[in-house]
């Protein structure tokens, strides 16, 4: 375990929205009770003004930093969260929760429906980014936090961050929006649609009713493979794999995973199905696709009432969420006179950069949060 780690952590659970106080979802349905899986790092100050909410991407979870007992796998943003890191746990109280509809402890399609005693499956309502944020609000309220020093996230996490700043403007001192879009573009939807088709075409999917039976592993693995391609860049793939081959007897004169890139994708796909639920992938991807802050409005009008200060980060080689799209967010905020800093970080890692481009991202985030804390009078 490295020196600047938050150490051993444990996922905790909170239940909210117990009937009859179910949560009214964007789709019009009500849902409850809802269990929220979450982790916290650092200490909440006595006046509760040092809290930062981290929001995760498509297949992320509450385990953002540190290690679970007996595991050597660090949290998904461990490089950014810890003592002396970008989100410095010596100073800040960092919260991360699994989003609604996911399968990593928070209520989702794989959870048991209390009405039937069976997993929800496809009877689970289609959730939106806004619904996820509303659930996170219960967790923040649970801690008695009136205002978050920052909400921060990349990709689908960036969408949640934007939604936070619009839905609860008085609760968000600052928003750190990374590698995202203010609405899912046709191309972004298209990639998700292919992933969903792969899952739904798997005979084991059974209209989502596969719990306790064979899981649609092939379909989910293919969805993950497509995802991985979009997360990397031409450059990073070339550098990592090039045309390297795996030595086989048939030397590729068959259809086994002969190229190293093929083998890698197969490995990532196959290992993913061990840790993620196929239905949740459908729900998460759909939530992103539904995301459109502007709808019929001009984007500048959307941000008319935000009160947060913003840091908007993009990465030059990100072709899934191209910098120009992320920049649109900064431009619309600027037009409203919002205090916004934006930066396009030079990186060759594509969309994955928000997870791996640690040094420059840390520099800009740590100083930004420091300023926000200072200006908030902490």
């Amino acid at each position: 375990m490295e020196e600047r780690s938050v150490g051993i952590v444990e996922t905790q659970y909170l239940t909210c929205c117990e009937p009859p106080q179910e949560l009214l979802l964007s789709c019009g349905e009500k849902l409850g009770p809802i269990t929220i899986a979450y982790e916290t790092y650092g200490k909440l100050s006595s006046n509760k003004n040092n809290a930062i909410l981290i929001v995760h991407a498509l297949t992320g979870d509450a385990h953002a930093a540190g290690y679970h007992q007996g595991s050597d796998r660090a949290g998904w943003w461990d490089a950014m969260i810890g003592p002396g890191k970008a989100f410095d746990t010596n100073k800040y109280f960092v919260i991360c929760s699994n989003v609604l509809g996911s399968c990593k402890g928070t209520t989702g399609s794989a959870s048991i429906d209390p009405k039937t005693g069976k997993p929800y499956g496809l009877s689970f309502p289609v959730v939106t980014i806004r619904d996820m944020v509303k659930v996170q609000k219960f967790l923040v309220d649970h801690f008695g936090i009136k205002k978050l020093l920052a909400v921060a996230g990349g990709s689908m996490g960036g969408m949640q961050t934007l939604e936070w700043s619009l839905l609860y403007p008085d609760m968000v001192e600052s928003a750190i929006v990374i590698a995202t879009n203010y609405r899912h573009s046709a191309q972004q939807i298209a990639f998700h649609e292919v992933g969903r088709n792969a899952i739904m075409a798997d005979p084991d999917w059974q209209n989502g009713d596969y719990y306790g039976k064979t899981i649609p592993a092939r379909g989910l693995a293919v969805a993950r493979m497509i995802g991985h391609i979009t997360y990397m860049s031409d450059h990073s793939m070339e550098e990592k794999f090039g045309r390297k081959v795996i030595d086989t007897e048939r030397r590729g004169y068959d259809f086994s995973a002969h190229f190293e890139v093929a083998n890698y994708l197969k490995y990532r796909g196959d290992s993913f199905v061990q840790r993620f639920d196929a239905n949740s992938w459908l729900y998460m991807s759909k939530a992103c696709d539904h995301f459109d802050l502007a709808q019929d409005q001009k984007l500048t009008d959307v941000f008319a009432n935000v009160k947060s200060k913003f840091l908007v980060i993009s990465f030059t080689s990100d072709w899934l969420y191209p910098p120009a799209q992320t920049k649109q967010i900064a431009k619309a905020l600027k037009a409203n006179g919002v205090d916004v800093t934006d930066i396009g970080i030079n990186s060759k890692y594509g969309h994955d950069a928000f997870l791996v481009e640690v040094d420059n991202q840390s520099k800009v985030i740590s100083h930004f949060v420091e300023r926000i804390a200072k200006e908030a009078g902490n």
Binding site: K309, K327, A330, K331, A332, K334, A335, G337, D339, V340, T341, D342, I343, G344, I345, N346, N360, K363, V364, H367, F368, E370, R371, K374
Partner: protein, 192 residues
């Protein structure tokens, strides 16, 4: 403190809302914030300098002056500053006019390409001047526009821009006579 910074600080009223175009490492912004209690925003193209600005606790936009101004609403800023950056933009006239759209007053600092030293180099060396203030060779200069104080005055005249103040400087001295000959830089406070 750099003399050009001091002159600019003197031109800005305390508590103003200021936009610094080509803000570099943010040193001028920090002075305006700390000594003049201004609210400052910057625009800078160089990623490395953005980190330095953020480290100083400043708000900056990473982008090109030629394209970043369009987002700001009319007369939003009390001052728009273009210190040593106007000569590096593609469309200087458009940038100045846009600066007047979004700002009430505009402060422009330019290098004087017709200082005595530069003139002597052209005259006697027969070469494009390379001086301490203009240290670049023709092939590696970031400067796209080469102008003198007189050129800029003409430009203001043609575009109905009023020069409220004009300070010629040479290193750490203010030049009051024969500005276009003896100044290495000049700072203008402008109104339209």
């Amino acid at each position: 403190m750099r003399l050009d910074f001091k002159i600019i600080l003197d031109m800005v009223k305390p508590g103003s809302l200021v936009l610094d175009l080509g803000c570099g490492d943010g040193d001028l912004m920090l002075l305006l914030k700390e000594q003049k209690q201004c609210k400052v925003f910057g625009i800078e193209l160089d990623e490395k300098l953005i980190y330095q600005c953020v480290e100083k606790g400043l708000s900056v936009n990473h982008g090109d002056i030629d394209t970043e101004l369009i987002d700001f609403s009319d007369k939003r800023f009390d001052y728009v500053i273009l210190n040593e950056s106007l000569q590096q933009v593609y469309y200087p006239k458009q940038v100045i006019l846009e600066s007047f759209r979004i700002g009430k007053k505009v402060i422009v600092g330019i290098p004087n390409f017709c200082s005595l030293e530069a003139r002597l180099q052209i005259m006697f060396k027969g070469r494009v001047p390379v001086t301490k203030e203009l240290p670049f060779e023709w092939h590696d200069t970031p400067n796209l526009r080469f102008l003198s104080i007189k050129d800029f005055r003409d430009f203001c005249d043609e575009n109905d821009i009023k020069i409220l103040k004009e300070k010629g400087i040479s290193k750490d001295k203010i030049i009051n006579r024969f500005k276009n000959l003896f100044s290495l830089n000049c700072i203008f406070l402008l109104e339209k």
